[in-house]
């Protein structure tokens, strides 16, 4: 349009402008304009907020996410153990990987850099676009281009109806169809589908909500673990939890106060077929009260997929196993230990290992103070023989429970005051008891006892209970993230399924009598719907502007002429400038080289 700059009465939005502003793509610049640091900074900002760089960042983000799915990560379930195992197997590259933060991809410097840059780029793109869109909403739809028959989708016919009446009818019809329509200067300009841009902006803004939810969760959440044997309970304080990972805004003293007790645990397993042993049901029956009010004790169940919400925390069932009930008598026959000891599962069939620490044994057979320790296996379904396999359970259910124990005596190290792992025996100051020249070992069925050698007394496998481990999780920000997710989907639907399109109608009184009606539509090229819509509108409009008798011929000739016109002048450059400088409306039709010429010849 550069060669039309001399015009003073040019319509506010010529056709190129009208076409361009329908696409909301940001304008891209090629190089730094301006001088010095400021020019460069502005150029870099433009680059960062350009669609091309945003696309590259998006692509980098997906690439950067890949290593985290192939290399064990600290933050995943049992991540610590898996990472250590992996490091042991790949000793040479492990330090390099550690340096590159490959065990911690999703909080690494480089991963963070990519998504932070991406969000900055997004903000730099979305904020101006929002203002621009507000501007669009506050102004009228862009005025009709001069030459409607040159628009990609158009229709033309002649009528005897009055031009002003046709324009008014078109205005009314477009409004009825939900267009924002504006009648001025002898033409109607209408636009519809603003929800596309609303959806687009909503989608991108909701990504910030998602990010905010993520960030808030990582700053103010905490998780604790607690293992309870059936019949046990605990108060949710730092001293009674097995472990706790707090964050900046949810520390040891912020724990939600409640009491929780495991009354019983139910587990069911597949008993036949090729998935034998697969878990089928885990249910923890619990009772609890929030705060300190014991009178509000309530019963409930916790299952996988069905956590229990107490106050601001959720309690998840994450593990289970068996706890054999073991009693130990000393040489004099006094019971020195009795309790259910949680054994930790080692495989899918719940072959479990554990230890018993009898720290209050008292005096040994030699008259000195001593302690006893046992380590061993609990097998819910023991095989007939351990030969070749060792002590391995055949099935996770308790079909034939057995306990295998080794006995030690000496100093457990529990009096040293140092914290100890309750699932491990520190054998540094212990000696294994010897029976018939072999290390003392026993295989006990339910109810069986074992008389220890050298007068150390006896051990009895009295029974067993189940235990369940729970994850006590406090995670705020879920609602924000969920709202972000839902809004993102709504925004996507708007931005992908709604079409923004413009329709212009212009009815012009012809010098030789009668009126020429021109319609044109403009939309993104992905859909052919605009042609249908224009046709529907045209059919409706013919109620008020019936086509003239000779219109058949005019339309037919128009059909032939239109391609010729668009091919002949393919480019956007207008050559018909001079004719137009006078009155903007009336000479329009005659200024078109193709259509009116034909019509004149018909007349």
């Amino acid at each position: 349009m550069s060669n039309t700059t001399t015009e003073t009465e040019q319509p506010p939005a010529p056709e190129d402008g009208a076409a361009e502003r329908l696409s909301t793509a940001p304008v891209e610049s090629d190089g730094p304009t301006g001088i010095g640091a400021f020019g460069w900074a502005r150029w870099m900002w433009r680059q960062l907020t350009s669609m091309r760089v945003a696309l590259i960042l998006l692509f980098l983000l997906s690439l950067a996410a890949i290593p985290g799915s192939l290399i064990p990560q600290y933050q995943n379930g049992q991540g610590q153990l898996k990472v250590e195992a992996w490091k042991a197997r790949h000793a040479t590259v492990a330090p390099v990987y550690e340096k590159l933060q490959l065990f911690d991809v999703y909080s690494s410097v480089w991963f963070s850099a990519i998504y932070i840059l991406l969000f900055v780029s997004l903000a730099g793109c979305i904020v101006p676009r929002t203002w621009q869109f507000v501007g669009v909403l506050r102004s009228q739809p862009p005025a009709a281009p001069r030459n409607l028959t040159r628009m990609p989708v158009h229709a033309v016919w002649r009528t005897e109806a009055d031009a002003d009446r046709v324009n008014a009818a078109a205005h009314r019809l477009l409004r009825k169809r939900g267009f924002r329509a504006h009648l001025s200067g002898g033409a109607v300009a209408a636009e519809k589908g603003y929800l596309r841009e609303v959806g687009n902006l909503l989608f991108h803004l909701s990504l910030f909500a998602l990010l905010g939810g993520f960030a808030w969760a990582s700053l103010a959440s905490g998780t604790g673990g607690k293992l309870m044997v059936e019949g046990e309970g605990y108060s949710n304080t730092i001293t009674q939890l097995d472990d706790f990972n707090g964050t900046r805004f949810y520390g040891n003293q912020d724990l939600d106060p409640f009491y929780l007790k495991l009354n019983g645990f139910t587990s069911k397993f597949q008993t036949k077929g090729d998935q034998i042993g697969a878990a089928r049901q885990f249910t923890a029956n619990v009772e609890y009260y929030a705060g300190g009010d014991e009178s509000k004790l309530k019963k409930s169940t916790i299952e996988v997929n069905h956590p229990l919400e107490i106050g601001g925390s959720k309690v998840y069932l994450i593990g289970h196993g068996y706890a054999p009930v073991i009693s130990v008598k000393n040489g004099k026959g006094d019971v020195v230990y009795r309790g259910a000891v949680p054994f930790l599962p080692q495989d899918g069939n719940l072959t479990s290992t554990g230890v018993v620490k009898v720290s209050d044994y008292g005096l040994g057979p030699d008259g000195n103070k001593t302690q006893l320790g046992f380590s061993g296996f609990f097998l819910p379904t023991a095989p007939l023989s351990f030969e070749g396999t060792g002590p391995v359970s055949l099935f996770p259910g308790d079909a034939a429970p057995e306990l295998v124990l080794n006995a030690f005596s000496g100093d457990l190290g529990t009096d040293s005051g140092l914290p100890q792992n309750v699932y491990q025996l520190n054998t540094r100051k212990l000696t294994q008891l010897v029976q018939d020249g072999e290390p003392a070992k026993a295989r006990l069925k339910l109810g069986e006892g074992w008389t220890l050698p050298d007068g150390y007394g006896s051990v009895t496998f009295e029974g067993y209970k189940q235990w369940a481990s729970f994850n006590v999780s406090h995670r705020p920000g879920n609602a924000i993230a969920l709202a972000g997710g839902v809004l993102a989907i709504l925004g996507l639907i708007g931005s992908l399924f709604i079409q923004r399109r413009r329709i212009w109608v212009r009815a012009v009184a012809l010098p030789g009598g009668g009126t020429q009606v021109e319609l044109a539509g403009l939309a993104r090229s992905e859909s052919a719907k605009i042609a249908e819509e224009l046709a529907e509108l045209a059919v409706d409009l013919q109620d008020d502007a019936p086509a003239s008798e000779e219109e058949d011929d005019a339309a037919a000739s128009e059909e032939d002429a239109a391609p010729a016109a668009s091919e002949g002048e393919g480019g956007a450059t207008e050559t018909d400038v001079p004719e137009e400088t006078g009155v903007p409306t009336a000479p329009e039709a005659s200024s078109d080289p193709a259509v009116p010429a034909d019509q004149k010849s018909k007349e």
Binding site: L58, R280, P307, G485, I489, L492, L496, F497, A562
Partner: protein, 375 residues
Amino acid sequence: MQLASAVDPQLADLSNKLIYSAMVVYTLAMFAHMIEWTFGSRGAVAVRSKEQAGSLAETVATAEKKAKKVTVTVAGAGGGTTTLTRTAVAGEGATVVTSGRGADEEDGPGAAGTNEKADLAGRIAVSLTVLGAVLHAGGIVTRGLSVSRWPWGNMYEFSCAFAFAMTAAYLVLLATRKNVRWLGLPVVLAGLLTLGIATTVLYTDSEQLVPALHSPWLAIHVSTAIFCGGAFYAAFIATLLYLGKDSFDKRTAAGLTTGPLGTSASIWRRLPAASTFDKLSYRINALVFPLWTFTIIAGAIWAEAAWGKYWEWDPKETWSFITWVAYACYLHARATAGWKGRKAAYLALAAFACWLFNYYGVNIFVTGKHSYAGI
């Protein structure tokens, strides 16, 4: 010690037999489609739109004076024009739409060309596909009934449902009188491939589920994932055909007489225009993308209920995210940066590769929290 709830072995067995029968019928459909393509090459390839151009003029001529008639001209990308004529008879309210294509790009006449035998073979193929789909659906339903749960608890069941979703989508398009019979052969092939992998590599007996899968989200999250998979697969086929047709067009322009990779020119000539494939693949991907977003969010909600954290960068989550970003790249490139044609098509292929890896690769090679019931 309690037993897990029972499995109905008769129904489970019936399900397997139905799936195998469906595979046999699909194979027959595949042969019928091959016959269609073979015979179709013998007939002269007529250009549909030329005929339509004639009928268009007739429609215009026969219109009553009372009728309201509008002709809309649409400029094509290649400089040609298309016209759409709409006629409404006054007082009756009925509208007749005729559209004709100008000299822009023409869709081929379809696999059968103008050969009647080939057309018959094509019709037989479609009937067989319908029969196969019915058996297939029966197989899925009986599998679900045999254990009284949703039939997508493991990779075998998921694959069966996924292959069905793809076939059903194709048949629905056919039923709505869309001109998609050319999709028949690739769809049946893809369905057979998926079912073949499912029955040989991924098969597990019909059983109850591990407690982690006892959730209403199984029905929501997994079924939308199945649907997305089927649709992405269809878009992938369209993208491949677009690339093929586009190279064929380029080769024709360069004076070569064969299609890419030594394929017969007659096959490509009978297929729809490259721009039709391009649009189809974009539309499917754009349609499915919000649903894929929903699938991921539904998964996150389920994860929150099952594991205590809605996002843990579990391998499956990670690859869903990667797939999502890849498709987002494609849509952005298409919608904003104005990438059309081959460059966008390569992006779409990369995105589908991510999806495939997310399904087969992550399930088989990577252990994560999405590992259930064997595979």
